[in-house]
Amino acid sequence: MTLSAPRPIIALRDVQKYYSDYHALRGITAEIQQGEFFSLLGPSGCGKTTLLRTIAGFEDVSSGTVHIDGKDMDGVPANVRPTNMVFQSYAIFPHLTVAENVGFGLRRAALSRTEKAAEVDAALKMVGLTGYGGRAAHALSGGQRQRVALARALILKPKVLLLDEPLSALDKKMREQMQIELRRLQRQVGITFILVTHDQEEALIMSDRIAVMFEGQIAQLASPQQLYRRPISRQVAEFIGVMNFLPVQVLGENGGRVQLNVAGLGACEITAEQCPSGVQIGAASVGLRPETLTVLFEGEVARGRELLGRVEEVQYFGDMTSYEVSLPDVARPVSISMRNLVGRQVLERGAPARVAWEEGALVLFC
């Protein structure tokens, strides 16, 4: 038996989309694997919805190709594509009951009435709405509507489920609960999910891989960990969480090691892996996540190197404290976040602070 390479369930090749003269998608190339939980993440207006609708067949591509399960989707209308969609507004049919909504896609299926009813019951059970079948669609809460939309889209067992910001209309508690539930559901049915979101935390929590989009292009396509730890540009780094940027001189590169002189931190050496956007000799910038910096307290010893700074701002969040600390020879104060462990005091504004940092946490942006 030979192992064939996994075939991507969706292959996008240089997809371009123009709305009259507005260039909404500017050459999207990506492959999405079977069974993957894939997220499209980006700021408002970057083209996430447009890309999703292009895959669903609601928008024609201006050029480029969309393959689903190996088949070219050019000229294939939305109603015969093996994809189903959960709309941002949920698009529950208001004149139908919950069961009629969920069973809507089965209308053309060659199933008996009892078989269809059984399918609907199974779908409702899957999303935790057993017994809600007879309800009128407008008598549902936001979370329940969302579940109905999910059940309705999953009942046809699509090859790909497309979700356009499905959680954005829910309150925080409900959203967090649904994030977990969606992920569980995806593992259970094994269907490829493509989720559109502008919430970076949501994307990190739920996804196997994330495509970060800016202005119609994919800036980076990577796993959540890679995206967070090795962002390919300052723009990506700033969009995913918080990052401190410091000016740097790249001095040289040999044997997979890169020599730097970082403003305020001094000379140091990092690995090639810490340079996701490549290495160029000359001026550039390095990034440091707030949690990779440490404020040392009396008796504590730095694991890496140590500097003396001054606390400019303190924000106390309960579980953690966020400091703005000014460092000698660094123009802007750096953000440092510390967990509030037992016995660890919170520094006051204006207090001197010993700051520890490690070479391994640096990311170089050339």
């Binding site: 209308p77 939305a78 109603n79 994809t83 189903n84 709309f87 809507f104 209308r107 053309r108 309705r152």
Partner: protein, 266 residues
């Protein structure tokens, strides 16, 4: 605030007092229309049923109103659908032209139609009146149906297509049921407008008059006036009932979709 209230009351009195006189004289036991009233009778209502010409005019009006309502609603559905869903060259001017009869004096519309028909050598028949009425009713139908179609969330349509339905079956399964209240409302209002319409009917009627045209003709005979009052009472009542039903359906349509009421004809 108080001045506004006073104004509203005054307005209503001015608008409806003349109409309230209709039933007053319809039940008055005298051949002349004047105060003081002389006694209660239902005589004029029974008298009314004994006039064959009136019955013929009524039947004629009914046919015309039914046809006009049906045609203007069907045309209105196409127009509203096109206006809310598709963009095409010259959409603004085209919609403007369709809505024009709403503000054009009916006399102008009627005379223009008459001229065209005479030039074409077409004899005045029932269907020529229907055509004229469709012209008058269409703007109202489109206004009502436009609102109904506009209130539709576009993603509902896309959801149905996404679930395997074609454009045609989507229209039947999703769009039609959701705009049905608007359609019923359009049918009722167009029917009422056509049934009450006078000027276009007056110009375009051939040998068989519509009810309003017949009523107008009867005013030449003072003896017939109390009967007309009785007839008028019934017509006002009928119009009121139809418009109420139309408004009920319009509101129900909005409520069913969980939308906000943004005004209407009533």
């Amino acid at each position: 605030m108080k001045a506004l209230k006073l104004y509203a009351v005054g307005y209503l009195v001015f608008l409806y007092a003349p109409i309230l006189l209709l039933p007053l004289f319809a039940f008055n036991d005298a051949k002349v229309i004047s105060f003081p009233l002389s006694g209660f009778t239902t005589h004029w209502f029974t008298e009314m049923t004994k006039i064959p010409a009136l019955y013929a005019a009524f039947k004629n009006s009914l046919t015309i109103a039914l046809c006009a309502a049906l045609i203007s609603t069907i045309l209105g559905i196409f127009a509203a659908r096109a206006a809310t869903r598709f963009s095409f060259a010259g959409k603004g001017p085209i919609m403007g032209l369709i809505m024009l009869p709403l503000v054009l004096p009916d006399v102008i519309v009627a005379i223009s139609l008459l001229v065209v028909l005479l030039q074409l050598g077409i004899a005045l028949q029932t269907w020529t009146v229907i055509m004229g009425h469709v012209l008058i009713c269409l703007p109202f139908s489109i206004a009502i149906l436009n609102a109904a179609f506009q209130a539709l969330d576009r993603s509902l349509e896309e959801a149905a297509i996404d679930l395997g339905e074609t454009r045609v079956s989507t229209f039947r399964l999703v769009i039609l049921p959701l705009v049905m209240p608007g359609i019923i409302s359009s049918l009722l209002i167009a029917f009422t407008i056509s049934f009450d319409e006078f000027i276009v009917s007056y110009f375009l009627t051939g040998s068989s008059p519509t009810l309003p045209v017949y009523i107008y003709g009867q005013f030449r005979y003072p003896a017939k006036v109390p009967v007309i009052m009785a007839l008028g009472t019934l017509l006002v009542l009928g119009s009121f009932v139809l418009l109420s039903i139309a408004e009920y359906f319009r509101r129900r349509g909005i409520k069913r979709r969980g939308g906000q009421d943004t005004g209407g004809f009533l």
